[in-house]
């Protein structure tokens, strides 16, 4: 418990709940040496091009959390119009739509939902978004090649 000394109650509570009642398809485990850093795994949602994939992410709670949004990044390479080559995610609640009432759990759920419903109209990776709009099937095939599933 030494690592959690001085940690806000909010973070402790959230962590406990994440461990006790994990969300289906999502795991978030705090790093041993830093209770603000989480190793996250999201499984590709059913009926999405990403089904069958397991995506590793990193999540970091900044000093101001929950007044500032957590920093989240895909570590696994992914072909998605709202995620760039470095794994950065274009998601409104991680930016200006952040609310302190949101939690790690809700953020990860939103990211999972983003995998089910890519939004090529608000792209981060422009080339991917373009491909997604012009030829969705080809884009999905590309997803699978990146996943090494074809």
């Amino acid at each position: 418990m030494s690592t959690s000394a001085g940690l806000p109650r909010r973070i402790l509570k959230e962590t406990q709940r994440l461990m006790a009642e994990p969300v289906a398809g999502i795991s978030a485990i705090p790093a041993e040496d830093n209770a603000r850093y989480f190793h996250v795994e999201i499984t590709g949602p059913k009926d999405s091009p990403f089904e069958g994939g397991i995506f590793k992410l990193e999540l970091f709670l900044p000093e101001e959390y929950p007044m500032a949004a957590p920093k989240v990044r895909f570590v696994t390479k992914i072909y998605h119009p709202n995620i760039d080559k470095l794994g950065r995610i274009c998601l409104d609640i991680l930016k200006d739509k952040w609310s302190p009432a949101l939690q790690i759990r809700t953020v990860l759920l939103s990211i999972q939902a983003l995998l089910s419903a890519p939004n090529p109209d608000d792209p981060l990776a422009n080339d991917v978004a373009e491909q997604w709009k012009v030829n969705e099937l080809a884009a999905i095939n590309k997803v699978l090649t990146v996943l090494d599933m074809i």
Partner: protein, 484 residues
């Protein structure tokens, strides 16, 4: 001291309008004088003339307060509503005063001043756990906006502090998910106890007011807090009455007549992007005739091999090296059509670059001349000092030299900003006219600069005449090309 001298000088009946002074009344004064002396000028208004005021922070606040009150009484709404409405409409009261009541209340809902539905008391009122920090709190520490989303005092305070430190002030909102109810100033201030953060909030709120205002602009001068106010926002010159920075009212960049804001922005971006690199590339490289890779020659031998496509060619004639060796030194013979070079698209790019460098070179050169002439001004001051000490005339007698230097700076500054204008001007009779006038202006400016540097050799009348000619040239160009 200097000011009183200047006044004396103006009274001496000289019609040179040296408008270094930012006071708009002086502008006005000059105009009146010109009217008296040269009625011809009255028909064509000075295209640079612009009416504005420089307000201090407290004057600007009073002005804004008055506008809020005006809208309050016109629409019969409270101050907070009036403020939000004004900010979302550029403070144009005219756009709001004739709206219907329904319209206004819809706007207020959209802007988060009013709640869409009258909210019922939420569970969190009865419970005493704050959903942000997840801690139990006494009931009286739970606060909410009119949306009844209750959070504890500490969380509100932390939230506002974090956001204010990120520069967010006028659009602070409720912390609940997807709730857009805005936090009024008194609500925010009730949680801010640290003096520095209150000051910051105050500063940012004021900044947001000014930034949203159609006819108020911050002076862009370093650490300057003055606010310029114009009746009609136009891209005209404002001289800050406090820090003397002169800037364009519309874009708040450096004053850039006769070029317009868009063009000068494009130009400055272009300059920041590629001027130096482009310069070097143009001077030191050629493109591979086959793959157009940019090649820098790093040895004496003219037999080049492109490191990218392995194409062998001659640096001098840019022809294929294979055919080069068949006849000894073929490329020293003049050929009518060096077609390989001419055909490639890269030539066009180089042509464009050449054009840009032409204008950029002149732009830079005048900027440098302005700097050097500032040094000259220092020398003039020293010379005047010496002369006055030696009893060769009084300070006032030599004042005209300073006026000449000021006018030179003004003319040269305008000349500098004619180059971006010319760069983006399409070829045609208008460009020809522009370039003609530009050349005339340039010639007179150089004459003036020459005479100022050798002021001892020239009569005062001669110099003054040259000043008039230069300023007339400048005005002619402005009348034709700078929209009033």
């Amino acid at each position: 001291m200097a000011e009183s001298l200047e006044e004396d000088y103006t009274y001496s009946g000289d019609d040179d309008d040296d408008d270094d002074d930012a006071d708009p009344n002086d502008y006005y004064g000059d105009e009146c004088m010109e009217e008296d002396q040269e009625p011809v000028d009255e028909r064509e208004p000075d295209p640079e003339y612009f009416e504005y005021k420089c307000l201090t922070v407290s004057e600007a606040k009073t002005f804004l307060q008055r506008q809020v009150e005006e809208l309050c009484s016109k629409l019969k709404v409270d101050k907070r509503s009036a403020l939000v409405l004004l900010m979302s409409h550029g403070w144009l009261i005219a756009e709001l005063e004739n709206r219907t009541e329904q319209d206004i209340s819809n706007l207020l809902i959209e802007k988060g001043v009013l709640a869409r539905h009258v909210p019922q008391a939420k569970r969190s009122v009865c419970g005493t756990s704050c959903s942000v920090c997840l801690q139990r709190k006494p009931r009286d520490e739970m606060k909410a906006l009119l949306c009844s989303h209750f959070f504890c005092k500490d969380c509100w305070c932390k939230q506002f502090e974090v956001l204010i430190n990120n520069g967010i002030a006028s659009d602070l909102q409720c912390m609940a998910i997807d709730c857009h109810i805005g936090a009024p100033e008194d609500f925010v201030l009730s949680f801010l106890h640290v003096e520095t953060i209150r000051k910051k909030y105050d500063k940012f709120i004021f900044r947001d007011y000014i930034k949203s205002h159609y006819n108020l602009r911050f002076c862009p001068g370093t650490d300057c807090t003055m606010v310029a106010q114009a009746d009609k926002p136009q891209s005209k010159r404002v001289d800050c009455s406090k820090c003397k920075t002169s800037f364009c009212f519309n874009c708040c960049g450096a004053y850039h007549a006769p070029t317009d804001c868009e063009t000068v922005k494009k130009w400055l971006m272009k300059c920041a992007d590629d001027s130096e690199t482009a310069n070097y590339i143009s001077a030191n490289t050629k493109d591979c005739p086959k793959c157009h890779a940019c090649i820098e020659k790093n040895g004496g031998c003219n037999h080049m091999q492109c490191s990218r496509c392995k194409h062998d060619f001659c640096w001098v004639c840019m022809g294929d090296w294979k055919f080069h060796g068949t006849e000894y030194y073929e490329c020293s013979r003049y050929k009518e059509k060096p077609d390989i070079v001419n055909e490639c698209a890269q030539v066009k790019a180089r042509e464009a670059l050449k054009k840009y460098l032409f204008y950029h070179g002149r732009w830079e050169n005048h900027a440098r001349s302005l700097e050097l002439e500032a040094v000259t001004l220092g020398n003039i001051n020293k010379r005047i000092q010496e002369k006055v000490m030696k009893n060769e005339g009084t300070w006032i007698d030599w004042q005209y030299l300073l006026d000449a230097a000021a006018l030179l700076a003004k003319c040269r500054y305008s000349l500098q900003y004619t180059y971006p204008y010319a760069y983006y001007l399409e070829s045609g009779p208008r460009k020809k006219l522009f370039e003609y006038q530009q050349a005339q202006l340039e010639a007179e400016i150089e004459n003036l600069s020459w005479k100022i540097e050798r002021a001892e050799k020239y009569q005062r009348g001669d110099l003054q005449n040259q000043m008039n000619v230069a300023e007339k040239r400048r005005q002619t160009l402005f009348k034709d090309f700078f929209p009033t």
